[in-house]
Symmetry: C2
Subunit: 418 residues, 2 copies
C-alpha cells in the first residue's frame, strides 16, 4: 500500500494551503484537505517550495573539498585534481556521493545532474539516499584512440545495467568537453544518446582559452564546432556557456540546448562571470543553475548559488532589475525539471512530490515582508527544515537518517586521496 | 569578582589549544591550562576564530528587510527607503537594532560600526545585547542651512550623553556623504571629531554618478574634494570607495583613511563591483568589510560577505589568487580592530575576548582538509555555535537569551513602517 502525506497549513506562494501527497505525486493542493491514515506534517511557521534541481555537479568531489585553494586553474587541475582522481575507487566514490546527497538534502536539493567516475558506486549511493538523479557514463579520451573500444564497451554495458536502476536514477551520456574528447568519440557518444533518446551532458565554453583554441584548431567556436558535427539538440545539457557570442547563442537556441550556469565555480577559479542571462532568455533558451563540484566551488548549496547568480547579474549588468526573483527561482527548480524531462520543479497537482519546507521562525524571515526576498537574500540553507523526494520524507527537523555514518566514513577514507 | 572562562581543547589555527579568559581579556592561550572556578566550555569538534567586525551597517534597517526588491537605486531610495524612514521612532529603532544584534551574534559578529537614526535607542539596544559598537550622531542636511543649528546642538548633546554609554559603545561622528551634506557641515563635523579625537564615518564614492556630479560641482572627485576641505585623516572610516582612481588612492593612503568594502550591497543595487583591493593593499591602506544595511543587502552576515568578496575579486580580476584566505580573514576581523582603535580581531594573549566558536561536526567541514577553506567557501553562518564578546558568553548552542522576544516585537511593530 502506498503511503500518503498531508502537509497542513503551509505557506505556498501567498497563502496557507494543505498539500496532499499520494504515493510519489502531489494529489491535491487546497484548504482543509482531509485524508484519514495519512502521515501529518504541521506546516505552521513553514513555507513549501519545490526541491532544487542542481543541474551540474560532480557529486563525489565532496571528497576533495578544500584540496586546492587560491590556485590558478592549470596548477589546480594538473597538480591537484587529476593526480587525486587517479586514487579514486568505488568505495571512495560511494561515500563521496553519499556525502554529496547528504549535503544536497540539507540545502534543499532533491534532484541532481551528475558527471563523475565510478558510475555504479554513485548510483548505489544516490539510490540509498532516496534522491532523484541523472547519472552519466563519462566519455573522456584526451585524444587517445587506444581508449575508444574500452569506452564504447563500458558505456554500452553501463547503459544496459541502468535498466535495473529503478525509477529515481536516469542514465545519460556524459561527454567531458569538445577540447578533451576526440571527434570520433563526440560523434559516437552523440549517436549513442540519440539512438536511445538519452540526455547528453557536456561542458561548453567554460573558459575563453577553450574558445580561442577551438577557433585555432577547427576555425569554429566550441558551440559552432559541436553543431557542425551534429551533436547539439534538445536533449543536450551544456554546462557553463560563459563565453558565448551572438552566433553561438543563435545555434544554441535553434537546437534548443539546455544551459547550466555555475557562477560560484566560475568566479572561484576565475573562468569568467559575464554570463549572458538576458540574451539567453531573450533567445528563448531554458537556463538552469548548478553548483559544479566541491573541488572548484566547495559546496553544493543551490540557495547560495541562486543568491550569487542574482547579485552578479545585477552587478555586471549595472541593473538591479537584471534578475527578478520569480525568474531566479525558476532557474533553480522548474527549468531543471524541463531540462531533465521530469515532472518536478513546480508545486502543483499531478507533479512528482519533490518538496522542501522552509522554517521561517528565525531572524532571516523577520520581518517577513517578502518571503522570496528573505529566502534568497537574507536566509541561508540552514532554513531548510524538511525535504520530501518522490513522496518520501528524506529529512525532517534537519535530520537525515544515517548522517553520522556518512561523516564518519568520509572522515576515515578521504586520507587515501591526500 | 570578575568571571573567568576556560575553553578547553579548541582548534586554534593549526592545533588544539586551551583559551583562558579573565574578565574581558584573553589571559592565556596554551595546552593544559588549569583555572579553578572558571566556567568551562568544551572545545571538542569546535574551532575558535575572532568575532567578526562589521565595519559598515545601518543596523535598524533590519526592519526594512525585503521592502524594495529588484528596483533601481533612485526608485528604491525615493519611493521606498526615504518615505519609510520618516515613520521611524525610538521604539522601532530600538527593536530593529536588537534584531540586528541578534542576527550579528547568530552569524559570528561581535562588533559593528553603525550609522543610523535615533542614536539613544540604538545604543540602549546594543548595550542590552552586550555587543561592542561604534555609534554615530548622523549629520545629513541635504544642503538646508536651516538645519545647521539643530544638528550642531543635537550632535554636541549626544556626544555629552555618550560619556554615560559604558565601555562597549563608542561615539563617532557620522557624516552621510559629501553629496548630501553642505560644505559648512562637512567642516563642522570634521572639526568636531578632530577636537575630541573621534572616529568619523562617511560614505565615499559608492556610485559613479556621485563622482561625476562631484567633478561637475567642485571640479574634484569626492575624495579630492574632502581632502581639500581637510576632512580626511586616519580616524576617518570611508564606506564603499568603489569608484577610486589612482589619484584618489594616493590621497586615501597619504591620509591613512580606513576603507570599508560592502560587496553584497554594491552588487545588489548595482553600484559597481570592481573594488580595487589589490591597489588599496599595495598602497598600504587598511581595508575592511561591511554588510551595509538590510534594506540594500538583506542580511548582516559577515561570513557570506567574506565569501562574496573573495569570489568577486577572483572573478573580476580573472585571477584565483586575487584574495588569499588569510588576507580575507584579516579584512573581516583584525583590520576592523585597527580601524576602530580596539584590541579586537586577533586571538592572542592580552586582546579583548571577542571570540566565536565554530561547530565543525557537519557536512560543510567534512572532510576538513583546510579549515579556513571550509569556513569561508563551504559552510554558512549556521556553523557559528558560541559567541563571546568582552568576556561574556552571548550565544551558546546557537541560542541567544531573549531571542523569541525580539522576533515577537519586530513582527508586531514593523507594520507601522509599511
Amino acid at each position: 500500500m502506498e503511503s500518503n502525506i498531508l502537509i497542513k497549513g503551509v505557506l505556498l506562494h501567498d497563502s496557507k494551503q494543505d498539500i496532499l501527497i499520494k504515493g510519489n505525486r502531489i494529489e491535491k493542493i487546497g484548504v482543509d484537505i482531509e485524508c484519514s491514515g495519512a502521515t501529518l506534517i504541521d506546516g505552521k511557521g513553514k513555507a513549501a517550495i519545490p526541491g532544487f534541481v542542481n543541474m551540474h555537479t560532480h557529486a563525489a568531489m565532496t571528497l576533495m573539498r578544500g584540496i586546492g585553494e587560491d590556485m590558478t586553474l592549470m596548477d589546480w587541475l594538473y597538480n591537484k585534481i587529476w593526480p587525486t582522481e587517479q586514487k579514486l575507487d568505488d568505495e571512495l566514490v560511494y561515500w563521496g556521493t553519499k556525502l554529496a546527497c547528504l549535503e544536497m538534502l540539507k540545502t534543499g536539493t532533491t534532484c541532481f545532474n551528475d558527471q563523475y567516475w565510478n558510475l555504479d558506486a554513485a548510483v548505489k549511493a544516490t539510490s540509498e539516499m532516496g534522491m532523484r538523479s541523472v547519472q552519466p557514463y563519462v566519455i573522456l579520451d584526451l585524444g587517445d584512440n587506444a581508449k575508444w573500444e574500452k569506452i564504447k564497451r563500458e558505456c554500452t554495458e553501463a547503459w544496459e545495467r541502468s535498466r535495473e536502476w529503478g525509477v529515481l536514477n536516469k542514465f545519460s551520456v556524459g561527454i567531458h568537453a569538445p577540447y578533451s574528447v576526440s571527434e570520433h568519440m563526440l560523434e559516437w557518444g552523440s549517436d549513442f544518446a540519440k539512438e536511445r533518446d538519452l540526455l547528453l551532458h557536456i561542458h561548453i565554453s567554460e573558459t575563453e582559452k577553450e574558445n580561442l583554441e577551438s577557433i585555432e584548431k577547427h576555425g569554429l567556436t566550441p558551440t559552432a564546432y559541436l553543431d557542425e558535427i551534429g551533436l547539439l539538440n534538445s536533449k543536450v545539457i551544456a554546462a557553463h556557456c560563459l563565453w558565448i557570442d551572438d552566433k553561438d547563442m543563435q545555434i544554441l537556441a535553434d537546437r534548443n540546448v539546455k544551459v547550466v550556469h555555475n557562477i560560484n565555480s566560475n568566479l572561484k577559479i576565475a573562468s569568467g562571470y559575464k554570463f549572458r542571462y538576458k540574451e539567453f532568455k531573450d533567445a528563448g533558451l531554458v537556463v538552469t543553475l548548478g553548483t559544479d563540484g566541491c573541488a572548484s566551488s566547495n559546496n553544493l548549496d543551490m540557495l547560495e548559488t541562486m543568491k550569487t547568480t542574482a547579485l552578479v547579474q545585477k552587478g555586471w549588468r549595472g541593473d538591479p532589475r537584471a534578475m527578478p526573483m520569480d525568474e531566479l527561482l525558476n532557474l533553480a527548480t522548474k527549468n531543471g525539471g524541463i531540462s531533465l524531462g521530469l515532472e518536478i520543479g513546480e508545486l502543483k497537482e499531478g507533479s512528482l512530490a519533490d518538496i522542501s519546507l522552509i522554517d521561517m521562525d528565525n531572524y532571516a524571515f523577520t520581518p517577513n515582508i517578502d518571503f522570496y526576498a528573505n529566502l534568497i537574500y537574507s536566509a541561508n540553507s540552514s532554513c531548510v527544515d524538511t525535504v520530501i523526494c518522490d513522496g518520501k520524507v528524506l529529512m525532517q527537523n534537519r535530520y537525515v537518517n544515517g548522517e553520522e555514518d556518512i561523516l564518519w566514513n568520509v572522515n576515515k577514507l578521504f586520507k587515501k586521496l591526500l
